[in-house]
């Protein structure tokens, strides 16, 4: 038996033994997701236990080095773990912007001290992070950001305002782009970390069209940030942010396709039997979905082999988010008048409609579709003046 076969066998055995039955059913709603953090209220003992056994083994971040709280698995092992978890229906033990976003940036740009300090906390789900990039005046255009950190010797004093900070009202710490040099528009930005309980930090949830408020406006009023809480070089925060955005786009682009995306036409076969035009639209959509799934596989294969164009994640992000928006338009159409319901129990409090509206942000957050197309034009197609 090869090493990988052994690993698979052991993994299956471990999952069988350690994953509580309740954690093998799909999460029903946002509130079933384990986000961790200082103030997190576990929904059940099973949820808490599932986080703890994974954290102990380093399997909340299976591919991170063990010294930083990870599982130390190689890519092949990581893939096997994911496959088996998917097969058994195991929930992700810990969802976290720390894992998805800050972690990779720290691994790339952090000092050894920072890695040893922050990464294990992330891995164990002790600290919940949020991201502070966008500002009211700068959506796609991050270069124009205004939040300013004034140099006070051993610390900065930060003033300004961020917007679209996900769950800032629930987060413990923030990773944040702050202007540290007003002269150099393109470079004078640094990547700072600080505690959301610091004096001067306030948050205000933004009500969205879906009726939910996953994002906040976040205000900084003379917030003190010690000098050792910078990631990467002073005034080179842009490098960290770009790396992270690229990573985020990879993640988003990979996200929708790792799981099986079933046929939409088959899911609504009774509806399409009576509606030949919808059937045609769904057939076209199923074709596009199958094609995009193949693209996702090719993309991930290339990514792992470090073969693809470095700007390819932008293409994936563009195509994947537009596809997902189309999917939800079709789901709403198939649902007809019942999918319009907004509060009824039968509609699970308007889950379909709220999810549909939520998808409209897919092509805005993490770089708009228009920005993606600009990047493809410039970096891949090398069109002039792009």
């Amino acid at each position: 038996m090869s090493d990988l076969e052994t690993f698979r066998k052991e993994t299956i055995a471990w999952l069988e033994e350690n994953c509580p039955a309740e954690m093998r059913k799909p999460a029903k709603s946002e509130s079933d997701v384990c986000w961790g953090g200082r103030n997190f209220q576990f929904q059940s003992d099973a949820q808490k236990q599932w986080l703890e056994v994974n954290a102990a083994r380093g399997w909340t971040v299976p591919d991170w080095p063990t010294e930083y709280g990870g599982g130390g698995l190689n890519p092949a092992e990581t893939k096997i773990l994911k496959q088996e978890m998917t097969r058994m229906g195991c929930r992700i033990p810990l969802s976290s912007f720390g894992i998805w976003m800050l972690g990779p940036a720290l691994l790339q740009f952090g000092t050894e001290e920072q890695k040893l300090h922050y990464l294990p906390q992330i891995a164990r789900g002790e600290i919940r992070w949020c991201q502070g990039y966008s500002e009211p005046g700068s959506g796609s255009d991050l270069v124009s950001l205004q939040t300013f950190g004034e140099d006070k010797g051993d610390h900065w004093v930060v003033n300004g305002q961020k917007v679209w900070t996900s769950y800032a009202d629930k987060a413990d710490w923030i990773f944040c782009l702050v202007r540290t040099d007003k002269e150099d528009k393109y470079r004078g930005i640094s990547f700072l970390l600080f505690d959301m309980e610091s004096e001067g930090v306030t948050t205000k949830p933004i009500k969205l069209i879906s009726g939910n408020s996953p994002f906040c406006e976040t205000f900084f009023d003379d917030v003190k940030v010690p000098k050792d809480q910078i990631v990467g070089q002073l005034n080179r925060g842009w490098d960290v942010a770009k790396y992270l955005l690229g990573h985020e786009r990879e993640m988003i682009s990979g996200g929708g396709i790792s799981n099986e995306m079933p046929s939409i036409g088959a899911a609504f076969n009774e509806i399409v039997a009576l509606d030949p035009i919808m059937r045609a639209e769904m057939a076209a959509f199923d074709v596009d979905t199958l094609a995009f799934k193949a693209m996702g596989e090719l993309f991930m294969d290339e990514l792992k082999a470090k073969k693809g164009h470095p700007a390819q994640p932008n293409m994936m992000k563009y195509a994947g988010t537009e596809l997902n928006k189309r999917r939800h338009e079709l789901v709403m159409a198939a649902g007809g008048s019942e999918s319009l319901e907004w509060e009824s129990e039968a509609s699970n409090k308007g889950a379909k409609a709220r999810n549909w509206l939520r998808t409209k942000a897919n092509s805005i957050e993490g770089g708009t579709s228009e920005v993606m197309l600009n990047v493809i034009s410039k970096r891949i197609l090398e069109l002039p003046g792009a």
Partner: protein
């Protein structure tokens, strides 16, 4: 007749535009939504509609109305759409009155005065599944003594909960799909045996699921002739389809206007975003499609008003075209607004929600494209 608005129609347009802007701008919808109004619209606004004379637009002059047609009703619907004004105008003053116009004088005498005054609200109980499919109406209306007994279920009955009278389509003979055997009934509110489950919809309007359990009606509740309801229903549907299409032209136009304004004010990368050719071309394409959608809605209204043979085809083409187009307008609208387009604070999301609701009302673009194919014989 030219397809542009003549002098009288332009005056009507101006007065409807001015009225909606003053009395029922988007803020009015927000107010009624935020206070969780159980009816989903303001009864006071409905009276004001009456005071403006709008509600009698399809009623004959003899009976206190304006004796106008769908083209004029469409003018008002467009202004309603632009402002997202919540009102029972579509179900009551357009589709409802069109049905009454094809029923007995007695029913008209009973309901028209209240409608014209803005006191009476009508609702339409047609759909029996989540997709509009009136050709499959199966609800049963058994003869019972001199009258009828209704049993079955209806859904997507907009304003059902607040209506004084509900127009119910049911089968008095034959089975789903038969041309004969359909009858329309005027069912008074609080008739015994009706159960309603009100549901708030994404666009803040309120629809009802209605169950009929041995609902007894007298013979004078019949609108038109027993077993011959198909034609009255067809008329009602034509009116409702054109008018809802006109409202959607308004919704799309309103969304487009908000978006164009935003393109002229929002800066990114040191430029107004409206300077980017990528967005300009999409905006210009959208403009082009909206103009075309408006034209077919006018044409369909004119055709129904004139009673020409191709009216049925044009009506379905109108609802199909505008369904696709106003959907494009709200999608482009939210996307071009970027992050703020996702917030409840900006109005563009409300246009998207209203568009979704209207797209299902009286059949969506797919239903009507299929109908165009069927009417063309393929």
């Amino acid at each position: 007749m030219p397809l542009f608005y003549d002098e009288d129609q332009s005056m009507l347009e101006d007065s409807a535009a001015e009225f909606m802007k003053t009395e029922a701008p988007v803020a009015h919808l927000r107010e009624f939504r935020d206070k969780n109004c159980p009816d989903g619209f303001s009864h006071r606004l409905w009276e004001q509609f009456g005071e403006m004379g709008f509600n009698g637009i399809m009623a004959s002059e003899d009976e206190g109305g304006l004796g106008m047609g769908l083209k004029e009703a469409g003018i008002i619907m467009k202004e309603i759409g632009k402002n997202l004004a919540p009102s029972p105008f579509l179900t009551t003053a357009v589709a409802g009155v069109e049905a009454l116009n094809n029923g007995s004088k007695a029913l008209r005498d009973r309901y028209l005065p209240g409608i014209i005054e803005g006191k009476t609200v009508l609702s339409l109980a047609i759909d029996e599944s989540s997709k509009h499919r009136p050709e499959a109406i199966a609800m049963e209306a058994k003869r019972s003594g001199n009258g009828f007994q209704l049993n079955g279920k209806k859904q997507f009955v907009i304003h059902g909960i607040s209506s004084d009278m509900m127009i119910v389509a049911a089968r008095t003979a034959g089975s789903a799909g038969d041309k004969d055997g359909l009858t329309l009934f005027a069912v008074e509110k609080e008739t015994k045996g009706m159960e309603m489950d009100a549901v708030r919809l994404v666009d803040s309007s309120v629809a009802a699921h209605v169950a009929f359990n041995n609902v007894e009606l007298t013979a004078d509740a019949v609108i038109g002739e027993v077993d011959q309801g198909q034609e009255v229903l067809d008329r009602l549907l034509r009116a409702g389809r054109v008018a809802s299409a006109a409202e959607m032209v308004g919704v799309g136009t309103g969304a487009m206007k908000q978006t164009l304004a935003y393109l002229k004010e929002r800066k990114q990368f040191g430029q107004l975003i409206g300077e980017f050719q990528g967005l300009q071309h999409r905006a210009a394409h959208l403009y082009s499609e909206m103009e075309i959608a408006d034209a077919i809605v006018r044409k369909a209204a004119e055709a129904v008003d004139a009673g020409v043979e191709s009216a049925e085809l044009l009506v379905s083409a109108a609802k199909a075209k505008v369904g696709v187009t106003s959907n494009l307008a709200v999608r482009e609208g939210v996307q071009m607004h970027g992050g703020v387009g996702m917030t409840d604070e900006y109005d563009i999301g409300l246009y998207m929600k209203r568009d979704r609701g209207l797209s299902e009302f009286f059949g969506d673009s797919r239903y009507h494209a299929n109908r165009v194919a069927q009417l063309y014989g393929y």
